[in-house]
């Protein structure tokens, strides 16, 4: 493919073709193809960190979300503090605090991968807790009253009556959070986790093909987020049929 600026006729018509910016720019598909095998290794780590981070984040979210709506004021306050602290600080600061800050206080070292998983878990946990709270509180109080009025205990009512309805309402906002957390793993670049973004950076450091490599990285992120959306849509449909 001839680079722009090599044709005299074009230059006459479009003087800007000679601007310094495009000198030497020569898009190469081959760079994209060649970078993919290495990027896939990074992508594998992105997926692993996302899965483990979200699994723990989901458990944290369930725990703190239920604490947030519990009758115990101390538990409510504790959950509120956690949620507000995480939501009120940038995830970049959280990542650095967990990787550089905490080990200093605890006088130990944390492998970057573990720090990454912990950061994603703690961060998503706060947002998922709010998803839980919102879903539970959106269920009509009449449902609880109906459950209690036939003699179910509070726990039975939550388990058999409220939870199945709340879970269905949680799927769309949960899916949203899953996608956000997946993309947030790219921030782990600052602590040197070899995930997708970091891998892309490393490839560029050796071949200087920023355009092709970042484009490929972006496409790989899209492949992951779109697949996740698809799975969640299917789950949502399946839940709807069962009603």
């Amino acid at each position: 493919m001839p680079g722009p600026g090599t044709s005299g006729a074009k230059t006459a018509l479009y003087p800007m073709w000679n601007s310094p910016m495009d000198i030497g720019f020569d898009f190469k598909y081959s760079v994209m193809w060649e970078s993919i095998p290495t990027l896939l290794i990074g992508m594998k780590w992105t997926i692993l960190i996302t899965i483990f981070g979200l699994l723990i984040g989901f458990l944290l979210g369930a725990l703190f979300g239920l604490m947030r709506i519990s009758g115990n004021p101390f538990l409510r306050k504790l959950a509120g503090t956690y949620i507000e602290s995480v939501r009120g600080t940038p995830i970049m600061v959280q990542v650095m605090f967990i990787y550089f800050g905490l080990p200093m206080a605890l006088n130990t070292r944390i492998p970057p991968m573990i720090a990454g998983i912990v950061a994603i878990a703690v961060n998503s946990g706060a947002y998922i807790a709010e998803v839980f709270r919102g879903a539970f509180q959106s269920i009509d109080p009449g449902q609880t009253e109906a459950g209690r009025s036939i003699g179910l205990t509070g726990l039975q009512t939550r388990y058999y009556v409220i939870w199945p309805q709340a879970f269905k309402r949680m799927i769309p906002p949960l899916g949203n959070q899953f996608i956000i957390s997946l993309k947030d793993t790219s921030l782990l670049v600052v602590v040197g986790v070899g995930e997708l973004t970091r891998t892309g950076q490393e490839i560029i450091a050796s071949n200087f093909r920023a355009f092709e490599v970042w484009l490929t990285v972006a496409i790989l992120y899209l492949v992951m987020t779109l697949s996740l959306s698809k799975v969640l849509n299917l789950l949502e449909k399946k839940m709807d049929i069962s009603q």
């Binding site: 449902q143 109906a146 209690r148 009025s149 036939i150 003699g151 179910l152 058999y160 009556v161 009603q243």
Partner: protein, 240 residues
């Protein structure tokens, strides 16, 4: 069966019930009427322990609800409740709604629960709707499922909180028919409703409430033909 003595209930500064006394005998059908905000629903909810009592006594079948030794869940299985908004469980079929209590509270087997559930659905005229989800039922059908769900616990008394108020006019009749049948079978019932026809036909007594107090308590003929109090008269005039 149900004994209420000097019952007070306030929500913050608002006194909703101000010294209500009412005794309901077994097999008695009592209709409670009164303007909105007079405390009718709150009274029912206090009987079923859905609201905590501020002061006074409620005794159900010999069990004082404020006695710490009384098991509230047990009381609730003794007294069924039917709500204005039905409150069916939307994620369960009609049969699922009816059998949940027997399965989880009474711990009967699935087969026995299903048998009981189908019997009760037939009793309320919905044998063919056992597998339908609430969203596919009309308001009247939903309320009849809700009645069957309460009956599944074999309660000794049933409370109805404006059971036909959320229904389209043409659907009121089918629900009242089921309730009349229950009354004729000897179920102890307390019904908050403004359906005078129902009151005339099945009620043993009509209680008129206003401002958190019982103003008048008399048999339906007396209540409707010659109310003793001015407030009762003006209320009855307004709902006719």
């Amino acid at each position: 069966m149900i004994k209420i003595l000097d019952l007070y209930k306030n929500f913050g500064d608002v006194e909703v019930l101000q010294g209500v006394g009412l005794e309901i005998a077994q097999k008695e059908v009592t209709v409670i009427m009164g303007p909105s905000g007079s405390g009718k629903s709150t009274l029912l909810r206090c009987i079923n322990c859905l609201e905590e009592i501020s002061d006074g006594t409620v005794v159900i079948d010999g069990h004082d609800v404020r006695d710490p030794k009384t098991d509230i869940n047990f009381i609730r299985t003794e007294v069924g409740m039917v709500f204005q908004q039905f409150n069916l469980f939307p994620h369960m079929t009609a049969l699922g709604n009816v059998t949940l209590g027997p399965l989880k509270v009474r711990k009967v087997s699935r087969a026995d629960a299903d048998k009981l559930g189908r019997e009760l659905l037939e009793k309320v005229g919905l044998a063919d709707k056992a597998d339908a989800y609430p969203e596919h039922l009309s308001g009247g059908q939903k309320q009849r499922v809700a009645i069957a769900r309460s009956l599944a616990m074999r309660p000794k008394a049933m409370l109805f909180d404006e059971p036909t108020s959320a229904l389209d006019p043409e659907l009121v009749g089918e629900v009242l028919e089921v309730m009349k049948q229950l009354g004729r079978e000897g179920m102890t019932m307390v019904v908050v409703t403004h359906e005078m026809g129902f009151a005339r036909e099945v009620a043993d007594r009509v209680v008129f409430m206003d401002d958190g107090q019982i103003v008048e308590d008399s048999p339906p003929e007396e209540m409707f033909e010659s109310p003793a109090h001015e407030r009762t008269r003006s209320f009855l005039k307004s709902i006719l």
